[in-house]
């Protein structure tokens, strides 16, 4: 059995979530279409609305500001294309960064093809997007700024409060991809100047195939929908609501709120244990910011070994790597390249992401495996 240290890619579902979902699927449960007028439909609708409140509660939003989608990728697309298309008449400029998730990058690239202009901000050497660089990129015709709260590869956490403040009074909408950060960091949307925020359930021990977009009511953010039809989700996202998926997300977010304080402490300690163990490897480099990071993510580059070999040698660990041979794009991590790492260091990088079920013993074994295999591979080339 491999050691699973890839919680940033996806998480196993919490058994409590699975239990709640199971009550919404079959004939003896809340299986009906929440749009139906009959009693089973009304019961399903009540379950959906309870889940909406649970999602809203994690980030201190109003339930009616939560729009359910098929995942964070759709939420990112809805936010970015939705604002751009709605605000088209006001301007055609978008600001984002080079180290956003593919969902944001690809949505922005599509808008470029449609005639929008995109400013792609560079991160600093620690992987942060400095608020000052956002300010410098703003133009009168900027309609949207999209900056992630926490980077999925590095775990670095941007100061979205500061970015939001500097956008106040400008008129550009601020979208934040919080797929990695929700449930890991406290988020208070009542206090943040954020217009749109994307969430995924499966990064927080919920099901795959469900996410949500927060769309601020005051001041109101308007969107052109991606998916038109029956007018579900206040017209912003049509399609029959998948009650079990939504209920699963609600339960996952409720559990995240409940566990966050102790889980953050526990994961911070585990990550520190991992880092203290691995920093003894000669020449190892930390990718990201030394203190401004998520509790559970550690990204390291290893000099003098080849990325795919390092990953395969450590095959007892389920971790992610910046290696070219293992990405669909056959390119080394674009995030690490944007930080200025060369191809070797970008490729020979491992992202360890720890989570709810990670133990100290697993961390210690990971340190042992990586240290042993790194030294073995380095010796082959020496």
């Amino acid at each position: 059995m491999a050691i699973y240290l890839d919680y940033a890619a996806t998480t196993p579902m919490d058994p409590k979530v699975a239990e709640r979902m199971a009550t919404c699927l079959t004939l003896d449960g809340l299986f009906a279409n929440p749009a139906s007028a009959h009693a089973p439909g009304r019961q399903a609708r009540a379950a959906v609305e309870q889940a909406r409140s649970q999602v809203a509660a994690l980030v201190n939003a109003k339930p009616q500001e939560i729009v359910f989608t098929s995942g964070a990728t759709e939420a990112d697309n809805l936010a970015i294309k939705g604002v751009a298309h709605f605000e088209r008449a006001r301007g055609k400029h978008i600001v984002t960064s080079r180290i956003e998730h593919k969902a944001v990058l690809d949505a922005c690239k599509q808008l470029e093809r449609e005639g929008f202009e995109v400013t792609w901000l560079k991160p600093d050497a620690d992987g942060l997007i400095q608020p000052e660089s956002v300010r410098a990129a703003l133009r009168p015709d900027t309609v949207l700024v999209s900056i992630m709260q926490a980077n999925n590869e590095l775990g670095t956490v941007n100061d979205i409060a500061a970015i939001g403040r500097l956008l106040k009074g400008h008129g550009a909408r601020f979208h934040v991809d919080a797929a990695q950060s929700a449930g890991k960091l406290p988020i208070d949307l009542a206090r943040l100047d954020v217009g749109l925020m994307s969430f995924a359930a499966h990064k927080v021990y919920g099901p795959k195939g469900i996410g949500a977009l927060y769309v601020r009511r005051e001041p109101r953010v308007n969107l052109e929908p991606l998916i038109h039809g029956g007018g579900h989700e206040q017209g912003m996202r049509s399609g029959t609501l998948a009650t079990h998926q939504i209920v699963g997300m609600g339960e996952a977010f409720r559990l995240a709120l409940e566990h966050m304080p102790e889980e953050a402490l526990r994961l911070t300690a585990l990550r520190e244990r991992l880092w203290q163990g691995l920093k003894r490897i000669e020449g190892v480099l930390l990718n990201g910011h030394p203190s401004q990071h998520l509790p559970g993510i550690l990204n390291l580059s290893f000099p003098g070994v080849e990325g795919e070999s390092l990953l395969y040698a450590c095959d007892k660990l389920a971790v992610s790597s910046g290696s070219a041979c293992n990405s669909a794009s056959q390119e080394p991590s674009y995030v690490l390249r944007a930080l200025g790492r060369d191809d070797q260091l970008a490729g020979a990088s491992l992202r360890f992401s720890l989570g709810r079920y990670t133990t100290e013993a697993e961390v210690d074994e990971a340190v042992e495996i990586v240290t042993r295999e790194y030294r073995r591979l380095a010796a082959l080339a020496a």
């Binding site: 890839d6 003098g304 070994v305 080849e306 795919e308 070999s309 990953l311 395969y312 040698a313 450590c314 095959d315 660990l317 389920a318 971790v319 992610s320 790597s321 290696s323 041979c325 293992n326 990405s327 669909a328 056959q330 191809d343 070797q344 490729g347 010796a379 082959l380 080339a381 020496a382």
Partner: protein, 135 residues
């Protein structure tokens, strides 16, 4: 992304986990000819050393290698096959035949080609020195 060990055949995987004949010959060992190919920038680098018998056959093969699992495994596989071979057979070595034999994906052809280059470089070194001797 993380490791998918099913992409490689068992033999490749096994050689990667425990490469044979790794290292270099002690300085001053006679009849050793070394060839070098590739670079870390290019993703793989091989230094291949052949120790020959007085009859011009391979007695032993050692190497140092930086690269992907396929590169490491092919070095190890070749190091086991070379001993006993004559130089004419070595000249006919084709790296692509080896990558095909182990059903490596097209993206890994370069591993065979760099290995072939390293072997050719070692042979060139032999030809150069033996050429000097006859002269």
């Amino acid at each position: 992304m993380a490791a998918d060990t099913t992409a490689y055949r068992d033999a490749v995987w096994e050689h990667f986990r425990a490469p044979r004949n790794i290292g270099a010959f002690p300085a001053g060992t006679s009849q050793v000819f070394e060839g070098h190919a590739g670079s870390p920038r290019a993703g793989r680098e091989i230094t291949l050393a052949l120790r020959l018998t007085a009859e011009g056959r391979v007695a032993e093969c050692r190497y140092r290698v930086y690269g992907c699992p396929a590169t490491i495994a092919l070095c190890s596989i070749l190091s086991e096959r070379l001993p006993g071979q004559g130089l004419e057979a070595l000249a006919g070595f084709r790296g692509l035949a080896l990558t095909e034999e182990f059903a490596l994906p097209p993206a890994k052809r370069a591993a065979g080609l760099v290995l072939e280059d390293a072997l050719k470089a070692a042979l060139a070194r032999y030809n150069m020195t033996s050429g000097l001797k006859t002269a």
